[in-house]
Symmetry: C2
Subunit: 549 residues, 2 copies
């Protein structure tokens, strides 16, 4: 295919997006901030695009919105319209959407309002909650390009299983969101709808691969979003954008109908999970709404494990991982971890140091298992349209040997993967550590195009441990986070460490990036991990006084 | 390597076996039945090798033995000695063992007796139960050849996880049992310790791959055995030998330390599970003893699903599968199914016909996934010693394309596998069928070397449904089961059907083979499947009158 041809196909994707934008809510160019303005978080309030009431709605959590709709204080229609309006402006600033679903969403909201009016009750636990959805999660009769130009004409014949469950619980899908080419970037850039920006600093990436979701929840274009994660793709954009993201243990959330090039690949299981704009509560709300519908009865690959109610416990030990032993985190991360430790100790939580269990070995295994075919299928999918590979696609493909693994080689690696996961579990038990608190990434966020080090998140895919990223409440302050004299003398341990450390030579590059933390729990302890994340989040933000969970 | 060399290595395996046999319990050649005597089931009683008390012990179930040991009526030592004696004679008749563990077993029994004497209680739910173990389930400091001559010097460094749990529950391992070369036969023949025979008819195979176990439980050399199953390898030998076998849903029973050439392969998950000489109760006893020890806390690949107590329910629907649509079962199987239907209907169980859900498609997928490497690793493992491939090894390898699948081809098949499993589950639900009752194999047992059709068992590996084989109480009677005039006119549907049907031209070939049935439950419904198998087994054997479960 000629270049011309792939560009024509890509244009189709842009047309779908452009035609879907509800024009009545677009701000004229003249009212938008200059493209050189990095931080646009406060713009929505300054712009006057939303009323005070709409700002109140969009600043709320899903949990709060459902509660207010249950009391009859809010209608689903006004909720979804408020989020749609915010999403339209957010998209003008950040280019995060691939398709708006305004008409369907409003029609559905009206149905819900009618139901509530007639019955006096909510239709389900997500009644009227607008949820943004990563593009490759199949939506019936809609294109599903998964970030590949060659897939522009791929139409999903069914809603993904997860979306059916969310919809049955009352959720409304109002916007579909951007993802990188191949899905394998911790960044968000493709040849169709382009590059998504970080609302806190538009020279930074929102992270990826659920980067459209990162921007969506970071700008509060939705209270909840659907992301997917095979190496950090939920947690990293949540972290970079100041939101909340949860990677459940694999095979708990339904995967059927999520469209990926390598469908059926299971050397490393991708997961789908929630991202939230304001609280861990919403991550729990999402998980419970999905798993209460016993999805394993239909999708038999899933584990038949109901979502259990777990109350946060004080009787836990959290191990703090200051550094993964491979790449030293940038100073702001360490500052946030110190703050967290101090507050947790003061709150009476048992805190120890966690010495990472040979994360280099973990990375060696998982990185070799991402593309056991040497990336052949990804390259083939690119070649089908002739679109060029993006630099970070090449980067991810470079993790693997360029030639396919033999099956016995892949089996050996799979066995090593299971062994490493068992050993990690045993090490946590041996040290009586229930949760590991650490960085989500070496930096608070990556500068556009620089998302190169995955292993602060990928290690928990490798060990299949549930993990939550959440904001520390701090942001990068080039004054406060300047390199000290000692920092300046730091001698990197290896080439990767050197590369990542040198990115911080000018702290101003990261100005205003929210600093996130990541809490990982033991394999299968999803409920406990969210419960503890809730506890830690509240302690860090509010201290112990008046702590209510 | 020269042929000479592999034969020397194989001799090592035979030496281990010969040296381990407790010679004091061997019967002199002169007292053994002639090798031409087919049925040796009654020989143990006729031989006088065991006392009446020992016969009573070895005819008991594990459940009964534990109960009697708990009452102080039996000691573990006399139990294990009785089974060892029976196993020694059984081995003389059937060649089912690869190694006896008499000294360790007796020493362990004495420990248990001391414990009981001191505390007045049993050490665990399997206190003093002798369990035979398929050779490739790793036993610390013992060879583990997995049926390959090249592995003769492979020494396991640890007990398999399952064995540790069984031992902690009080089990005693008294004999290790034979398996076929490559493990991939429904027969039991290798180049090390040779061929195992069926106790009901020594011209028949005991089945496989857990064929040593089949003979062991069939001759009551142990009340419980450990088998493994990736296409029928637990259920088929249990069926051929008149015993009970259970294939649990994958990833429930611990697999770590089970030695296979293709460790880490997961296109199709093998499982480990119990085989029992006399009852479904014992299969349950085994499962509960294992899963009550929460093995998923250590082996993180397993599903965190406790064993739940399920009481057999009358409120069920059983679909009878008379024929899988590919291969017509032999007349004795149909006779047993008719008898079962009649008794179940009379007992008030809701019985419908089950139309198999495109089992041909299921077989096409699973057979392509057994050797995604085109059998390269198996051939390599054979080549390492130079031993010749056995005919049924070639047979199994012929299921796969001789060249490896590409990874994307394997992924596509894996996705088809999951889709088929989901569709099977949906079909069962749609028809409101809870369990499928059908054949375990087209014949009651296979004539030696003729175990060619796997799909009456493999289909439940494909759909990952729990399945139990159990004796109908009937045996092949060449008079009763002669071909009718109508049978003689049967025109096979396809080449496979022709091959299998022609094997029955002389019913006398199968004389006295026990006729088993197979009950499969829905994916994950392991507890319900065993509970229902118990109900069905009792109804078929005893009718409804005085039914106690």
């Amino acid at each position: 295919m000629s270049l011309n041809n792939w560009e024509q196909k890509a244009q189709k994707g842009r047309d779908i997006l452009q035609n879907s934008i509800p024009k009545q809510w677009l701000l004229p160019e003249s009212r938008l901030p200059p493209t050189t303005q990095k931080n646009v978080i406060r713009f929505i309030r300054e712009s006057g695009a939303l009323s005070e009431h709409e700002l109140m709605i969009t600043d709320s959590s899903a949990t709060e919105l459902v509660r207010e709709m249950g009391r009859g204080k809010l209608a689903a229609e006004e909720v979804v319209v408020a989020f749609l309006k915010r999403a339209v402006v957010g998209h003008q600033l950040l280019n995060f959407a691939t398709e708006f679903l305004a008409d369907e969403a409003i029609a559905q909201a009206r149905e819900l309002d009618r139901f509530y009016k007639e019955t006096g009750r909510l239709i389900g636990p997500l009644h009227g909650v607008p949820i943004s959805v990563k593009e490759h999660v199949g939506m019936k009769n809609k294109t599903c390009n998964t970030g590949f130009v060659s897939w522009i004409d791929n139409i999903a014949t069914e809603d993904a299983h997860l979306l059916r469950l969310l919809k049955d619980a009352g959720a409304i899908f109002h916007v579909r969101t951007n993802q990188p080419q191949s899905l394998m970037h911790l960044c968000c850039s493709n040849n169709i709808t382009g590059t998504t920006l970080n609302p806190h600093n538009r020279t930074l990436t929102p992270g990826g691969s659920s980067g459209g979701e990162g921007a969506s929840i970071g700008f509060k274009c939705s209270p909840l979003g659907v992301g997917t994660d095979i190496g950090g793709s939920i947690r990293c954009p949540a972290a970079f954008c100041g939101g909340y993201g949860f990677r459940p243990t694999a095979m708990r959330n339904p995967m059927a109908g999520i469209q990926v090039a390598c469908i059926g690949q299971e050397t490393i299981h991708g997961v789908v999970g929630p991202m939230a704009s304001t609280s861990v509560d919403d991550l729990e709300l999402f998980q419970r709404a999905v798993l209460d519908q016993v999805p394993w009865e239909e999708e038999t690959s899933l584990m038949p494990v109901p979502w259990s109610n777990v109350i946060p416990s004080w009787d836990i030990t959290i191990g703090i991982m200051w550094d993964d032993g491979i790449v030293r985190p940038h100073p702001p991360i360490t500052r946030a971890l110190r703050m967290a430790k101090e507050k947790l100790v003061r709150a009476g939580i048992n805190i120890v140091d966690w010495k990472p269990y040979d994360h280099e070995r973990g990375w060696k295994i998982i990185s070799a298992l991402y593309f056991p075919d040497g990336g052949a299928l990804t390259r083939k999918t690119l070649a089908e349209s002739g679109e060029p590979a993006r630099p970070l696609t090449e980067w991810a493909l470079s993790y693997s040997r360029p030639t396919p693994l033999t099956h016995p080689e892949a089996w050996t690696l799979q066995h090593e993967r299971d062994t490493y996961r068992d050993e990690y579990q045993a090490a946590l038990k041996w040290h009586q550590v229930d949760f590991v608190l650490g960085p989500a990434y070496p930096a608070a966020a990556a500068v556009m195009g620089e998302s190169q080090y995955w292993n602060y998140t990928a290690i928990w895919n490798m060990t299949d441990m549930p993990a939550v990223t959440f904001p520390s409440g701090l942001a990068v302050d080039p004054g406060l986070d300047a390199l000290t004299e000692q920092d300046k003398k730091y001698i990197p341990r290896n080439e990767i460490d050197k590369r990542e450390w040198e990115k911080y030579q000018s702290p101003a590059r990261y100005e205003n990036a929210p600093i996130a933390l990541q809490l990982a729990g033991r394999h299968f302890k999803d409920e406990e991990t969210l419960a503890t994340a809730k506890l830690v989040d509240k302690i860090i933000k509010d201290g112990v006084r008046g702590l209510k969970l």
